[in-house]
């Protein structure tokens, strides 16, 4: 049953997929002692204007890892046995992805990618939330309390790892962009993209470095591909 649930959740997800700092300051020459000291106050550098637009970003709300063996091909009973046999591995892989691609790591990748430019948005203030959020297709409301007129949402909906006898290991990222006109959504674009991992996810005691790099690279590639696709479609 759980195998069926896992399979259904995967299929369902796939279908739904979608300063003034360090400025050189000339030291004024010391005034003559007889004259009153008159030191011009240094003019502060004008602060960069904050963009009027906002791009709100949420990290993944869901993470799943599923490894299937040959048992998965023998009906519900086979799938159930297979799921039970891989339970520890699935638990371990899910936790590893959750820990490696946590909100902080995702935020770092998304900052490096310069999402407003990638998505062809106007200059935007990027606000990265530190906890994931579940979105619904029919929800036209904003996910944040922001009331700024120029407002876009970028949601990492799910991270999903899948491996079976045919596929060595795939990381799929489900993403969503919601653009707003006032308070209601005017565009909702969902898609997913997967990358094949070149390395296996580690077991306890094994070096996690290579798999960490592979997951970060896959996530970066998925987001970049999705963003380019969105920009091409809605330019």
């Amino acid at each position: 049953m759980i195998g069926l649930r896992y399979a259904l959740s995967l299929i369902g997800a796939a279908l739904a997929a979608p300063a003034a700092m360090a400025q050189p300051v000339a030291t004024p020459a010391a005034p003559p002692a007889s004259e009153p000291a008159e030191v011009a106050a240094p003019t502060p550098a004008p602060a960069a204007p904050v963009p009027a637009c906002e791009l709100h970003v949420w990290p993944a709300a869901r993470v799943s890892a599923i490894t299937q063996g040959v048992g998965a091909g023998f009906g519900i009973i086979g799938a159930l046995i297979d799921t039970a046999a891989h339970a520890d591995q699935n638990k371990r892989d899910t936790a590893f992805i959750t820990g490696t691609l946590d909100a902080q790591a995702q935020a770092q990748v998304l900052r490096d990618l310069d999402l407003p430019a990638k998505l062809h948005l106007p200059p935007s203030q990027v606000i990265i939330h530190d906890q994931g959020i579940d979105t619904k297709r029919d929800d036209p409301q904003r996910l944040s309390n922001s009331t700024t007129p120029c407002y876009t949402e970028f949601v990492v909906r799910s991270l999903s790892y899948f491996q079976n006898i045919a596929y060595r290991g795939q990381m799929r990222t489900f993403l969503e962009v919601r653009r707003f006109d006032g308070a209601t959504v005017k565009l909702d674009f969902r898609d997913s993209r997967h990358e094949d991992l070149k390395v296996k996810l580690p077991k306890e005691g094994e070096d996690t470095g290579p798999a960490t790099d592979a997951l970060l690279t896959a996530f970066r590639g998925d987001v970049a591909f999705f963003s380019d696709k969105y920009a091409r479609k809605y330019k």
């Binding site: 049953m1 759980i2 649930r5 896992y6 959740s9 993944a60 709300a61 869901r62 993470v63 799943s64 799921t83 039970a84 339970a87 520890d88 699935n90 638990k91 371990r92 899910t94 936790a95 590893f96 959750t98 820990g99 490696t100 946590d102 902080q104 770092q108 906890q131 994931g132 959020i133 579940d134 799910s158 580690p202 306890e204 005691g205 094994e206 070096d207 996690t208 470095g209 960490t212």
Partner: protein, 232 residues
């Protein structure tokens, strides 16, 4: 240290590490602040190092939860976010403050086979963007040439319908052997089952007992990592 012990010979390393596992113990509660354990006088070793080694330890930012049930599955921090169908896995028992308190209870000198080890448990996460790629020390001022960092990068309480509920940590050890050296990194994960009996479940204070069980599992998982790192 135990690492040197482990690097010479794998079998010898396991012998060296065995007391480390046994030596992990919960002792009296310690305030959740950065704390330096006083250096003990070194034993009469054959070739004592020039100064005591330092071990700096940092907790994870928070503890996440993963859950795979019969009906609901996949949401990260489901209960914390109020997602329907996700039970409270007591991750709050491992918030940063509790991690610091628990990390300070571990007998690191036994785990690292170094009675002179100076241990500092920091009260907040490192805050660095990429600790694995970093080649410099986080604590530079006055640190010993023999310097180690142990960073809990993630702490997770996990539940799977076909598997035992457990606590898993992802951790990174950086070993600096002398002042100008590049660090030797070891990053891995370890887990320990949350031992929670039927009697605990039915007890009036079952929530408190589950908190304690989660914390014991965290200490055990950290202890396992301490042993693992001694082989690298």
């Amino acid at each position: 240290m135990g690492g040197a012990c482990g690097r010479r010979n794998r079998v010898l390393a396991q012998v060296c590490a065995a007391p480390a596992i046994l030596g992990l113990a919960l002792t009296a509660a310690v305030p959740a602040t950065a704390q330096t354990l006083p250096a003990q006088p070194p034993s009469a070793a054959a070739s004592p190092p020039p100064g005591p080694c330092e071990l700096h330890i940092w907790p994870a930012t928070a503890t996440h939860t993963t859950f795979q049930g019969w009906v609901h599955a996949g949401a990260v921090d489901g209960a914390q976010r109020g997602v329907k169908g996700y039970p409270d896995l007591h991750a709050s028992a491992l918030d940063t403050g509790q991690q610091v308190r628990l990390l300070a209870t571990i007998d690191w000198r036994t785990a690292f086979s170094d009675p002179a080890l100076v241990v500092v448990v920091h009260s907040a996460p490192t805050g660095a963007a990429d600790d694995r790629a970093r080649t410099s020390r986080l604590v530079t001022e006055g640190s010993s040439p023999c310097y180690r960092e142990m960073i809990i990068t993630s702490s997770i309480v996990e539940s799977e319908v076909f598997s035992k509920q457990s606590v898993r940590i992802l951790a990174l050890r950086k070993r600096f052997d002398d002042a100008g050296s590049q660090p030797a990194n070891f990053s891995s994960m370890s887990q320990a089952a949350i031992l929670f009996s039927d009697a605990d479940k039915t007890a009036a204070d079952s929530s408190v007992r589950l908190d304690a069980a989660v914390q014991v599992a965290f200490v055990t998982a950290v202890g396992k990592f301490a042993v693992m790192q001694s082989f690298h």
